[in-house]
Symmetry: C2
C-alpha cells in the first residue's frame, strides 16, 4: 500500500520510519526542499517532494502539519485525490478539524496519536514512538466504516492502543490531562519569576530540583504547540481552567483556615486518584 | 567523630550510610525497636536504640524526625548533651525550627539537605543520596561560627553543594520551587476528578501520559509531607499562592481574549525562564 505523509516534522517523520519498516511505500511532502532531502536520507520516505502531486498514487494520506495548516492542505490536496483515498490527521484537537474537513472529504478519519518527545523536527524522528501509546480515532456518523478500518489497521501496526470516541469527547478529555497541565505549569513558572527579592529569586533558582523540574516541564515546553492547543481547544480549556481555579481556591481556604486534617485528606485522595490516571 | 541521628527514616537512613562510609561512628535513635534493628542490619548505624541516652557520647546530632517532632526531641535530648554538642536538623522549613530551637540550644545550626526519593522509610536508604544536591544551612546571628563549620564540613563530605542563607530566605525560596508546586499539582488532580461525564473521565484516565504524569507527580506525593510543608510554611505558601492565582488569571484572560500573540510570548518567556531554574 502507498501511504502519503504531509508535514515531515517529528510525528510525520516517526510515522514514515515505522510505516516503511512494515513494508508500506511512503511518499512525503514538506514545504521545504531541504526537509524532503532529509526525509529520504533518514529513511522516513521512499520519495519526497514539495509538490502535493506526488501523493496522487497514494491510498491513505496522513496530515501531519500544524493544526492551522490542515484545512488549507486538504483544499490544495483534493484535486490530486481519487474518491477512495482515505485522509487522516494527527492533530491534538479534534472537533474543529473534523468539522472543517469532513464536509470537504467524506473519507476523512480524525486521529490523534498521543506520543511525543521533547525534541521536535524530522531530525528527532525515531522508530516505535507510538508503540504502547494511545491512538485516538474520532469517526462521526458520516464517516465510512471502511475508511475507519483502514486507518485503524495502520495505527494498530504501529503497536499503538486504539481508542474510539466522538471529537468533542476527545477534546474535553485532553483538555484535562494535556492542555490544562500546560497552563497550570506555565502559571507556576511565571509566578516564580515574580519574586521581587533578587537574593530569594537566585536562591530559588539554585535550589530548584525534581519537584520544580517535573511540575514546570510542560509549561516551559514548545510555545507554538501550547498556544495552538489553547487556540483550537479554547472552550474546553477555559472550562477546565474554571474548575481548576475552584479547586485551587478550596486548597487555599484549607491552608488559610489551618484545616490540616482536611488538607491531608485531600492529598491522600489525590495520591489514590492519581493512580487511576498513571501507572507508576 | 561520633555522630548521632534521631529519626531513622529515608533521610536519617541515607545520612547514616554515607557517614559510616566515611569512617564516622554513627549512633541512631528511633521510636521503634524494630527500626533500630533494621538500622544495624542495613549498616545505617553502628549502634541504635529507642533511648536518647545512647547519644550522650556524640559530638554532632542530626535531627531527622518529622518537623513536628523536632522541638519535643530537643527538649528530651538536652539532659544528655554536653555544652559543646552541635545539633542540626534536616527539616524542609527553617524559620519556625530555628526560632524554636536556637533559644534552647546555642550550638544549633538549621539545615536542609534538598534530596529525596519517591520511596520513604529506612528500607529506601541508599548511599550518595545527597551528592551534587543542595544542602542549605541557615545560621543566625547568635549561631557560633565553630558549630556552622562542623556541620558544613560533614555536609561537604556528603558531596552536597552548600548554600548559606537566613531561615526566612530559605522558606520563601522553597515555597516557590517546592511547596507551591505541590499545591498547584494537587489542584490539578482534584480538578480532573471533577469531570461529571463518566465517559470523558475514563477516557481522560486512559489518555493521560507523560505531561499529566509529570505535572501531577508532587500533588499526588506523600500526603503527610505535603500537609506539614503547608503547616510550617503557611505564610510564605499563601503568599506564593496569591501570586500564582494572579498569573493564572493573566493566562486565562489571554485565552478568553484570544490574544494568541501574547500567550505565545508568555510561553516563550517561560521556556527561557525555566532554564534559569533547571538544567536540561
Amino acid at each position: 500500500m502507498n501511504i502519503g505523509i504531509v508535514g515531515l516534522g517529528l510525528i510525520g517523520g516517526c510515522l514514515g520510519l515505522d510505516l516503511r519498516a512494515q513494508g508500506y511505500k511512503v511518499f512525503g511532502v514538506s514545504r521545504r526542499e531541504s526537509t524532503c532531502q532529509q526525509a529520504i536520507a533518514l529513511g522516513v520516505a521512499d520519495q519526497a517532494s514539495v509538490d502535493l502531486a506526488i501523493l496522487a498514487a497514494t491510498e491513505v494520506i496522513f496530515l501531519c502539519t500544524p493544526l492551522a495548516a490542515i484545512l488549507p492542505t486538504v483544499e490544495q490536496l483534493i484535486p490530486y485525490l481519487s474518491p477512495n483515498t482515505v485522509l487522516t490527521d494527527v492533530g491534538s484537537v479534534k472537533a474543529p478539524v473534523v468539522e472543517a474537513i469532513a464536509p470537504l472529504w467524506s473519507n476523512f478519519v480524525g486521529g490523534h496519536p498521543m506520543a511525543g518527545k521533547t525534541d521536535s523536527g524530522i531530525e528527532a524522528a525515531q522508530l516505535n514512538l507510538f508503540a504502547l501509546k494511545p491512538y485516538v480515532l474520532t469517526p462521526i456518523a458520516t464517516t465510512p466504516a471502511a475508511a475507519v478500518e483502514v486507518v485503524e489497521k495502520i495505527a494498530r501496526s504501529l503497536q499503538a492502543t486504539i481508542y474510539h470516541c466522538r471529537p468533542e469527547e476527545h477534546d474535553r478529555a485532553v483538555s484535562w490531562i494535556s492542555h490544562l497541565p500546560v497552563m497550570v505549569s506555565a502559571a507556576l513558572i511565571a509566578a516564580c519569576m515574580s519574586e521581587t527579592n533578587p537574593d530569594v529569586l537566585v536562591l530559588a533558582q539554585q535550589l530548584a530540583s525534581s519537584g520544580f523540574r517535573d511540575t514546570s516541564r510542560v509549561g516551559g515546553g514548545n510555545p507554538e504547540l501550547g498556544m495552538m492547543m489553547a487556540r483550537y481547544n479554547r472552550q474546553e480549556l477555559l472550562r477546565s481552567l474554571q474548575h481548576y481555579q475552584h479547586h485551587l481556591e478550596v486548597l487555599i481556604d484549607l491552608v488559610e483556615q489551618e484545616n490540616w486534617i482536611a488538607l491531608k485528606q485531600q492529598l491522600e485522595s489525590n495520591h489514590l486518584v492519581r493512580s487511576y490516571f498513571i501507572d507508576e
